[in-house]
C-alpha cells in the first residue's frame, strides 16, 4: 500500500472512529431526514389548503359576487391572508425565518428539531402551495363542471376529482421541491440542531481536519439527492406511460 493511502486511512480512523465521532454524522443524518420529512408533511398540508383557497377565489369570485351574501367576502379575506403569507415567506430568507421561530416565537423550547420542522414546514408550504395552485389550474375546467353538475359540492369536487388529477400533474415538481428542502435544512445548525452539515462542521472543529468530514457530508447529500432524482425520473416515465 502506498504511504499516502495509509496516511489517509489513519486520518479516517482519527476523524471518525476515535471517540465514536461517526455517531455524530449518523445523528446529524437522522435529524436532517426527520426535519425534511416533517417539514414536507406540514408543507403539503399547508400547500393544499392555501392552493385550494387561492384557486377557489380565482375561479369563483365572479359568481359569488353575483350571488351576494357573505361567501364572497369570506373568501376574499382568506385569499388576502394567503397572499400575505406567500409574499412574506417567499420574500425572506429561510434562515431568518428559522431564527425568528427559535429565538423569538418559541423561546421556551430548547430542542431545535421540532422548531426546524415547524419553520421549514411553514417555508416549504409557500412553495408547495404555488406548485399545487398551478396544478389545480392546469386541470381542465370541464372536470370541475362535470363534478359540480352531478351534485358534488365545490369541496367534494376538489377532493374526489381535481386533487387526484392535480397530484399526478405536479408529482415530479413536488419531488424536486423535496430535494431542495433537503438541502435547505443544512442551515438548521443556526439554531443549535445537530444536523448533517453541523455534524461535519463540528467534527472538523474538534479534529482540525475539515477535508474529510465536510467531503463526507457533501457526498451523503449528493447520494441522497441522486437517489431521489433517479426515483423522480422513474416516476415521471411511469406517469407519462399511463397517460396515453
Amino acid at each position: 500500500m502506498p504511504d499516502w493511502f495509509i496516511g489517509f486511512l489513519k486520518k479516517l480512523e482519527y476523524v471518525f472512529l476515535q471517540k465514536d465521532r461517526y455517531k455524530q454524522i449518523l445523528t446529524g443524518l437522522g435529524n436532517t431526514v426527520i426535519i425534511t420529512l416533517g417539514a414536507l408533511v406540514i408543507g403539503v398540508i399547508i400547500g393544499i389548503i392555501v392552493a385550494a383557497i387561492r384557486s377557489s377565489y380565482d375561479k369563483n369570485k365572479e359568481s359569488l359576487k353575483l350571488r351576494g351574501g357573505p361567501g364572497y367576502y369570506i373568501l376574499k379575506v382568506l385569499n388576502g391572508i394567503c397572499k400575505f403569507y406567500l409574499t412574506v415567506i417567499r420574500g425572506t430568507p429561510v434562515v431568518v425565518q428559522l431564527m425568528i421561530a427559535y429565538f423569538v416565537i418559541f423561546i421556551s423550547i430548547k430542542d431545535g428539531v421540532p422548531i426546524g420542522i415547524f419553520a421549514f414546514g411553514i417555508n416549504s408550504g409557500a412553495y408547495v402551495a404555488e406548485i399545487f395552485r398551478g396544478g389545480i389550474m392546469s386541470v381542465d375546467n370541464g372536470q370541475f363542471e362535470a363534478g359540480r353538475s352531478m351534485g358534488f359540492s365545490y369541496i367534494q369536487t376538489m377532493r374526489h376529482i381535481i386533487i387526484p388529477q392535480m397530484f399526478k400533474a405536479v408529482l415530479p415538481t413536488l419531488c424536486n421541491e423535496f430535494i431542495a428542502l433537503l438541502k435547505e435544512t443544512s442551515v438548521a445548525g443556526y439554531v443549535g440542531v445537530m444536523d448533517l452539515t453541523k455534524a461535519g462542521n463540528s467534527i472538523g472543529g474538534r479534529t482540525y481536519q475539515y477535508f474529510i468530514p465536510l467531503f463526507t457530508v457533501a457526498l451523503i447529500y449528493l447520494a441522497i439527492v441522486m437517489l431521489l432524482s433517479w426515483l423522480v425520473g422513474k416516476l415521471e416515465r411511469r406517469l407519462r406511460k399511463s397517460e396515453h
Binding site: 372536470q143 352531478m150 358534488f152 376529482i161 396515453h244
Partner: protein, 246 residues
C-alpha cells in the same frame, strides 16, 4: 308522453358576462317527459341558457323553478337539485384518472349513499343498454369519442335524474360516431326522459323533438312543434338560419 306537470319554469332569465348581455330575458316552461331541442346560430346564447338551468352559469336576473323550487333563490342548496339534473357536455368530461365503472359509481356512492354493489349493478344495466358493458374496466383514454359520450350519458343516468341537459353532445365527435350517440338519446326519449338538447343536428330535432326553441341574440325567437317550425317558419331570422344549415 307529455304530462301537464311543469318540471322546469324559467321566467325573465338574464345573463351578462361583463358588459355583454348574452341572455336578454328568457321565459319558457318545460313539461315532464318533454324533449325540447334548442337550436340557433352560434353566439345566440343557447349553451348559456342550458347552463343556467342547473346554475353552472349564475343567472344575472330572473327565476328558474325546478320541481316547484326556485333554484335561483339564495337559500337553496343547488347541489341537491343538480343531483336530479343530469348534464352531458360537448367535451364528454369523463374523469381520466378513473376507470369507466368508477366514473359511473362515484356520484351514486358518495352522494346517494348507495353501496358499491348497488351502484355497480345499476351501472352495469345501463352499460348493457348502450352496448358498452365490456368497457367497464377501461380508462377513458382507451375509448373512442362516441364511446366516451355514451359513457358520459350513462354517468348522468346513474344518478336517476328527472331531466337530462345536453350541451351540443355530438359536436366534438367524428361524423361516423354521431349516430351511435343520437341512438342512445333517441332511446332515452322513447323512455320518456325529460330532455333539453342544444344541438346542430336538425334531423334529431325533427325526429325526436317535441318542441323546438329557436334562439338568436339572447332571446327565444320562435317556439313550436318540429312540424310547425320546419314546415311553417315564421321569423325571417329562423328562415335564414335554416337556409344555411339544411
Amino acid at each position: 308522453m307529455n304530462t301537464d306537470e311543469i318540471l322546469i319554469k324559467v321566467s325573465g332569465l338574464k345573463k351578462s358576462f361583463g358588459e355583454i348581455e348574452v341572455l336578454k330575458g328568457i321565459d319558457v316552461e318545460i313539461r315532464r317527459g318533454e324533449v325540447v331541442v334548442v337550436i340557433g346560430p352560434s353566439g345566440s346564447g343557447k349553451s348559456t341558457f342550458l347552463r343556467c338551468l342547473n346554475r353552472l352559469e349564475e343567472p344575472t336576473d330572473g327565476n328558474i323553478f325546478f320541481e316547484e323550487t326556485d333554484i335561483t333563490s339564495r337559500d337553496v342548496n343547488i347541489d341537491q337539485h343538480r343531483q336530479k339534473m343530469g348534464m352531458v357536455f360537448q367535451q364528454f368530461n369523463l374523469f381520466p384518472h378513473m376507470m369507466v365503472m368508477k366514473n359511473l359509481t362515484l356520484a351514486p356512492v358518495k352522494l346517494r349513499h348507495k353501496t358499491k354493489e348497488e351502484a355497480e349493478q345499476k351501472a352495469m344495466e345501463l352499460l348493457n343498454a348502450v352496448g358498452l358493458a365490456d368497457r367497464a374496466d377501461a380508462y377513458p383514454s382507451q375509448l373512442s369519442g362516441g364511446q366516451k359520450q355514451r359513457i358520459a350519458i350513462v354517468r348522468a343516468l346513474c344518478m336517476e335524474p328527472d331531466v337530462m341537459l345536453f350541451d351540443e353532445p355530438t359536436s366534438a365527435l367524428d361524423p361516423e360516431m354521431v349516430g351511435e350517440v343520437l341512438e342512445v338519446m333517441k332511446d332515452l326519449a322513447r323512455h320518456h326522459m325529460t330532455m333539453v338538447v342544444v344541438t346542430h343536428e336538425m334531423g334529431f330535432a325533427k325526429e325526436v323533438g317535441d318542441r323546438i326553441l329557436f334562439m338568436d341574440e339572447g332571446v327565444i325567437m320562435e317556439s313550436g312543434t318540429p312540424e310547425d317550425f320546419f314546415g311553417n317558419t315564421k321569423t325571417e331570422r329562423a328562415r335564414s338560419f335554416l337556409d344555411k344549415v339544411l
